[in-house]
Symmetry: C3
Subunit: 345 residues, 3 copies
């Protein structure tokens, strides 16, 4: 796509500094951008890179604009503006609607005329696929699944019976929606499976990363709110609810029936145990484990950072005697207190 | 399915209180159950919900039965009874045996007449698939694999050459059985692959969650006992043995050659390093790391729980000086002891 | 395959002790090897097993050779020699080149005449597949992907548009290469997707485990060096660089833009946060979290080891008051110091 700087400024509410007729074709990183590229300054620490960039245009904030002499698009939020321009200049490839001859599609399903179902995908009974939906190769869409308009299944996505995907969602390869929750009743030494009869209900504008798994509810549903962003390899157990616009980094595990609020962020490899309530606007650092409900917005952590192993081993060994250390400390305090008192008397 | 309360009581060894001719069609949660639904009380804290339920029947223990005036099925273990009734009222959909025309099946394989192989599945050479087995869409069954009667591969399951699945197993999408173990010999700066020649042998009545991976043994086999339940996104390395009826929650990793006993439970995101022996009836809490063998049944833990990040940062920083703190504490004790002795003299 | 011991010695630079005409057919573990098998001693603790082995030949180091009276292949590095012999005696099955009739292949792609594309695989536009490449069943190869000679995609592998795989690579089922990185700009309460326009570039002789995911770069590329070994269920975020011959165990997560040096090893479930630089020859223990750059080669750790839960609970509880404990300790030291001074005066 090719567009003038003036047109970009008009569409994305920026102010042009320099030649408005300059033609821009793509986004690029500051350090390697060329004369037909638009770049942006992500951090003031890149001022030296900015000084040497060959980018046709750089997106800058008002306050950084004076640091650069070249052609600029001056906006309130350069990162956000860059994201929008990038999406506009680099849209998903256009597809011809229809169904690939190798797709296996139950005649009972309703697929919008503007949708695409790719090779080797399977669409079962009673499925509804909305306008402009793209189902890539090798997907499995179970009975009575609904997929909202403009959603995109990149390929190798599996969606179990009766689950529902909202509009404008993006699901990456290996995502599994609607696998059984992990529910059993003890039966002596054995485990008796509790059938998982609920669904997964996914809102609109949700992104689900590669190999992320979301289990169906046991009796009620697992619910993912609008605008939720899930990275790769996340596990979401049965009956979990995730509030709107919460973003979860890779490898996080959330155990059954936990409810997470809106606008939360969970760092990579964080874990949240089951049956908890996490308030809105809670932020969990990478690698932390949450084992009780959180009522107050804010940042929470339990992660430890690596240090040289020999040093760590000595510190960690002491941790395994910390209770004893605490008792010894208290005893010393008492002893000293006693001495002071004796001394005074 | 529709069944009278009397029939449920007969099949599942309960006592009816109320109308034995009441017809039940499905299970439902206490709070949303209707007159044709059977629900159960999972915890005494739901007594208020019980009081207001519209469920046709509630499964109750003898001791809780007096808390409820409505129609009840009184049993020894309501949770177990509920699981069984749910499974009986909500069986897997019946399938017509055969093979989908798009399945690619080696003529050398033996597939029971009562089994189903779904669309786009691939069954290689010398495979044996037992009675009433269901192989969903997009599965890959490698050479000389055997799958026992009534096992169910939901779809998108991959089983490598020569692996064996017992009877009544349930494998969810994205499960990979029989990938290579991670074995290399050092060759200067490079790694020389050690061919992984063993198999994965899975017992009967095993459930394997979505995107769980089980590597084949290097020379000997990886072995999963009967009744083992594996949640999603678990990694089981080569030559691991897992004892009967052990249940493992999501995102657990078990390193090579470790042996885990019977009836163990591993919490989510727990890790177990390689070449360990874990006794029967060991329970590991979520997020814990086991780095040495465990000989005694019981609960083990090394996980920390998140607290407000600012507070945590201060505590964690001290941990990195704990060895020094311990030395200072000992020094203080010695000093005080010396003082006491001097004082006495 | 059948080969004489003399031939093995010649090929793999060993010295024969015993009958050079002995015919060997396969590798086997010391404890179960038979007269046509070659085994090796992995550790001196297995001397008792060695004494009783029925193996036709045992691979031994010069120093261990005297512990065994039977037929031996004496080499400098028995483990490495065993790995090479195993690979030579147990090669991948030979395949007939071509494309399975159910594979969907864009006419625009170039597939070497000696390559194989398996059933239900999809090869899109402009793909280049090199000599002797094996693409197993159910793979997806996106537009303009290149795959180097002799690489092997076991099956169910997904490679996104424009990614590149080197020569002699091995990719296991469920691996996803080139999914979108997790990049968003804040837009009020919502997240605006930053299009992920980079690629994944994978070197030669790389192994990628089952269900491992590697995201494409945001603007630049994600780069995996030559000889890198990735176990199962690893997550590698956008713009990560991994140096040659680094080996990463299962369930590790590496956040965006981090650079890892050469010859590093990362233990299972380790995590590395984003935008870090990790030097060459760094070793991270299992379950550790790295949150700052590491400039010096060596071992690093932050993991804790499980102990009986009751004991652990007491120690961990104290950790949440460690800052306070440290302050009390300092206060005691000061008090005692003061006393000493008073005493002296």
């Amino acid at each position: 796509m090719a567009v003038t700087l003036a047109e970009l400024a008009r569409r994305f509410q920026g102010r042009v500094r320099g030649n408005p007729e300059l033609v821009i074709e793509r986004v690029a990183p500051l350090e390697s951008a060329g004369p037909q590229d638009i770049a942006y300054l992500s951090d003031k620490k890149y001022f030296p890179v900015l000084a040497n960039t060959a980018a046709g245009v750089v997106i800058l904030s008002e306050s950084d604009a004076s640091e650069y002499g070249g052609c600029a698009l001056i906006v309130t939020d350069p990162h956000l503006c860059f994201a929008r321009i990038a999406q506009w200049l680099h849209p998903y490839p256009v597809f011809t609607p229809g169904t690939h001859p190798t797709a296996v599609i139950n005649s009972d399903s309703r697929i919008a005329k503007t949708a695409w179902v790719g090779p080797h995908s399977v669409v079962e009974d009673g499925v509804e696929i909305g306008d402009d939906v793209y189902v890539g190769p090798g997907c499995f869409i179970g009975n009575h699944v609904t997929i909202g308009a403009r959603s995109r299944l990149v390929g190798h996505v599996s969606i179990g019976d009766r689950c529902s995907i909202g509009e404008d969602c993006l699901l990456h390869p290996g995502a599994v929606i609607g696998s059984d929750g992990f529910g059993y009743a003890r039966n002596g030494e054995q485990w008796q499976k509790v059938p998982q009869l609920g669904r997964v209900i996914i809102g609109s504008n949700v992104e689900i990363g590669a190999n992320t798994t979301i289990d169906r509810g046991a009796l009620n549903d697992t619910v993912i709110g609008n605008g939720v962003k899930l990275d790769n390899q996340i596990q979401i157990a049965h009956n979990v609810h995730i509030g709107d616009n919460t973003a979860i980094a890779a490898c996080v595990g959330i155990a059954g029936s936990t409810r997470i609020g809106k606008r939360c962020t969970l760092g990579g490899q964080a874990g949240i145990t089951g049956h908890l309530d996490i308030a809105d606007d809670v932020h969990i650092t990478a690698g932390s484990l949450v084992t009780s409900s959180i009522k107050q917005a804010g940042a929470y952590s339990s992660s430890l950072k690596a240090e040289p192993a020999e040093k760590w081993r000595r510190n960690a060994a002491r941790l395994h005697h910390l209770d004893e250390m605490a008792r010894r400390l208290t005893k010393l305090e008492e002893k000293l207190q006693q001495q002071s008192e004796e001394h005074e008397n």
